[in-house]
């Protein structure tokens, strides 16, 4: 049957199981938007800025484990997507971005709103396409979705000239893709797995470092079985948080620049590291030359290019985490590692890393803990970037699988609100809290408009310290307290919320925290709380830039009060 290019795109999206599209229309994508009402199963959510569309698709994809879709017009619409696409690229998130392009006869003429978006996004997409005729649309969309979600997931951009959206072509949705240059390795090599098992079985001081690959692969059970059989402490990267329950006796939480001090010490002392679906990012390893000096490293990852990229690896295993762990666990003998685990527990007692200091003022750590308490740890937490993100990672105990959504690789301030919107749209039955900083929040604050229009019931907690707080902390520690360009005057966020038609509360005192969170939870719809926190509160522990993991700065002792480790069921 003949269809217009626009109809072919919509038909293809329906066949890919797409339910939601985040986007903004415009001249070069008008024909596609014009066809949308014929496909009521495709819900379109009009965002306020295309960056919001890409982040929302990103959040949606991470939370639902489906492919997120965003759309924009040519030129500025497309370039506004760029930050969001880059964010998805660095965190391996499957999104498909569809952009309008000027009509074919205008390409290369610097036409109105023409930009070479496939050129611009070349280094930040897994693959991209400039469609050259309507007849190839179905094949390209099929390939695009396949590439986005398989292997190491990532963003795919499809640029569709305006005249192709109008042109007619025969619609036939291919059942298979033909990509001779793309064959992800799923099965790990049996010899390598055997070697790894031998090393693990002989290890005295093993640790697992689990990353987002575990979540992407859905290898929660396999990871747990491996850890429990061989009694191996489980440490996660920032994006690996919630791949393993943090209340588990073998959980030693997050490593890295703002990881737990005891965790970083464990890495430093380990003799075998089993790195699973993680990529040795510098925020996780700190100074690589001082990383895990005594350890043999086993690295399991689906992307061969990650092996040996940042850290020397003794036993690489390329493959899908779930498949590899499934094969590996059959060769693992049970162990106890009593002394090693005792050592870690002692370090945790001596360096609890999540103490909260005594303060009259409102502390951000307390806010996060209260959100944890009131939601009973069942919420999905979406963060901005900066101090808010680190406090959210440290002071919420993640037991629910895939319950922390955060911008890791790119560290995109402004990710929080639109991503939380995408998460809530994808998981309407879950409680979704956006924990953001006042600086980060203001970068995409316009999405309050989308949230209000679509009544997306996101609960927003702004940790408002009037600074670009993480940078201010660096200035305090490393730049002689010269607070250049970090003091930030914000608007009255509650009034802003009101102006968008959303309820909000300002909280200045600790005793108001719980009632405010409860009120937000009871309210059927989006709700904003502006927590006015201690302006110069720092994130501890911290590994200074350039230092090794074990050279960790902890909170000044005299200031802290002991806070018992959260015991969660």
């Amino acid at each position: 049957m003949k269809m217009t290019g626009a109809q072919i795109i919509c038909e293809s999206l329906v066949r890919e199981g797409v339910e939601v599209i985040f986007g903004i229309t415009g001249g070069a994508i008008l024909p596609l938007y014009d066809a949308l009402p014929q496909y009521p199963q495709l819900r379109h959510i009009l965002v306020r800025h295309e960056q919001g569309a890409a982040h929302a698709a990103d959040g949606y994809a991470r939370a639902t484990e489906k492919v997120g879709v965003c759309m924009a017009t040519s030129g500025p619409g497309a370039t506004n997507l760029v930050t969001g696409i880059a964010n998805a690229h660095l965190d391996s998130v499957p999104i498909v971005a569809i952009t309008g392009q000027v009509a074919r006869p205008f390409i290369g003429k610097d036409a109105f709103q023409e930009i070479d978006i496939t050129g611009i996004t070349l280094p930040i997409t897994k693959h991209n396409y400039l469609v050259r005729d309507a007849g190839s649309l179905a094949k390209i969309i099929k390939e695009g979705f396949y590439l986005a979600r398989t292997g190491r997931p990532g963003p795919v951009l499809i640029d569709v000239p305006r005249d192709i959206q109008i042109d007619q072509a025969e619609f036939h949705y291919p059942s298979k893709v033909d990509l001779p240059g793309y064959k992800p390795t799923l099965q790990g090599h049996p010899e390598q797995i055997k070697k790894a098992a031998k090393l693990i079985n002989e290890a005295q001081r093993p640790v697992i470092i689990a990353g987002r690959g575990v979540i992407i692969s859905g290898a929660y059970d396999e990871l747990k079985q491996l850890a429990e059989t061989a009694q191996i402490p489980v440490i996660t990267t920032l994006l690996g948080i919630s791949c393993f329950p943090e209340s588990h006796i073998l959980s030693y939480r997050m490593l890295g620049m703002h990881g737990m001090a005891y965790t970083n010490m464990a890495i430093d002392a380990a003799d075998v590291i089993i790195a699973i679906g993680m990529r040795f990012d510098d925020r996780a390893t700190a100074n690589v030359s001082g990383f895990a000096p005594h350890a043999h490293i086993i690295h399991i990852d689906i992307d061969p290019a990650e092996i040996g990229k940042n850290v020397r690896v003794d036993i690489p295993i390329v493959g899908d985490v779930k498949t590899v762990l499934d094969a590996l666990k059959k060769l693992i003998t049970s162990s106890e590692h009593i002394d090693w685990i005792q050592q870690l527990d002692d370090w945790r007692k001596e360096h609890p890393s999540t103490e909260i200091r005594n303060s009259e003022g409102l502390l951000p750590q307390l806010v996060i803990r209260k959100i944890h308490e009131v939601t009973q740890g069942e919420a999905i937490i979406v963060t901005g970037v900066g101090q808010n993100q680190m406090w959210a990672a440290q002071h919420f105990w993640y037991n629910k699988p895939n319950s922390l959504i955060s911008s890791g690789g790119l560290g995109t301030m402004g990710f929080g609100l639109p991503a939380a919107m995408g998460v809530k749209v994808g998981c309407p039955d879950d409680t979704v809290w956006c924990i953001d900083g006042d600086g980060s929040f203001q970068m995409t604050i316009q999405e309050l408009g989308t949230i209000a229009q679509e009544n997306v019931a996101v609960k927003i907690a702004i940790l408002n310290n009037g600074y670009l707080g993480m940078v201010r902390q660096w200035q305090e520690f490393f730049f002689g307290k010269r607070y250049v360009a970090t003091p930030l005057s914000g608007p009255d966020f509650v009034k802003i919320a009101e102006a968008y038609g959303l309820p909000g509360l300002k909280v200045k005192h600790r005793q108001e925290v719980v009632p405010a969170i409860e009120q937000a939870m009871e309210y059927q719809g989006p709700f904003l709380i502006d927590f006015v926190i201690e302006p110069e509160e720092n994130v501890y522990p911290m590994v200074p830039p350039g230092a090794a993991l074990a050279e960790v700065l902890e909170a000044p002792k005299e200031e802290v009060i002991t806070w018992q480790r959260q015991s969660t069921p």
Binding site: G119, L179, G181, P304, A305, I307, P316
Partner: protein, 181 residues
């Protein structure tokens, strides 16, 4: 670790923008290309590239893996350690007068190169060989005065019947094998 020149050969889909994707990758990862040569392969929809990069073994292995990730790259292989035939072609336009022309022709003969064009004040020499041979001829001809030189960059192939770029049906298995080394 010491750097050395490595020869990579690749089969890539003959599609618009593929060269751009590969060049972009080199720039993005800060790898230095010594030369790159592209042409048709034995399969009509595939082009063959020979890329020479200067770097440590670890670095070049990273280049190879990153190139392999490009969707349009069907296969890429580092053949540096293999027994290979590597050739380059150069056209060299040399200043020539009636008195120097025969001397130039002698040099050209020794190198088994050819004179492909003669003008009143110049001759153009075509030479094929490895980089060293071309460099030596170039150095000898320099005395006469070089007007212009064009070089193709290296193309290479392994000796013997097998090909490192043979595309196998089950290439996921070959990748699994390769990771062992």
């Amino acid at each position: 670790m010491a750097t050395a020149k490595h020869t990579l050969v690749a089969l890539v889909e003959n599609k618009p923008g593929v060269l751009n994707r590969m060049a972009s990758l080199f720039r993005q990862r800060d790898f230095n290309i010594e030369s790159i040569a592209v042409g048709h392969s034995e399969q009509p929809h595939l082009s063959r590239m020979t890329i020479v990069v200067d770097g440590t073994t670890t670095m070049v292995e990273q280049v190879r893996k990153q190139l392999d990730k490009v969707i349009d790259v069907v296969k890429v292989s580092d053949i540096t350690g293999d027994d290979i035939i590597a050739r380059e072609l150069a056209l060299i336009k040399v200043k020539a007068t009636a008195s120097t022309r025969s001397e130039i022709m002698q040099v050209v003969d020794i190198f088994r190169a050819n004179i492909v064009d003669v003008a009143s004040d110049s001759v153009t020499v075509e030479v094929t060989g490895d980089e060293e041979k071309i460099d030596s001829l170039f150095n000898l001809l320099r005395g006469f005065g070089i007007k212009e030189i064009a070089r193709t960059g290296r193309i290479a192939m392994t000796r013997g019947g097998s090909s490192p770029l043979r595309v196998e049906k089950k290439s996921s298995n070959t990748r699994a094998k390769r990771q062992k080394t």
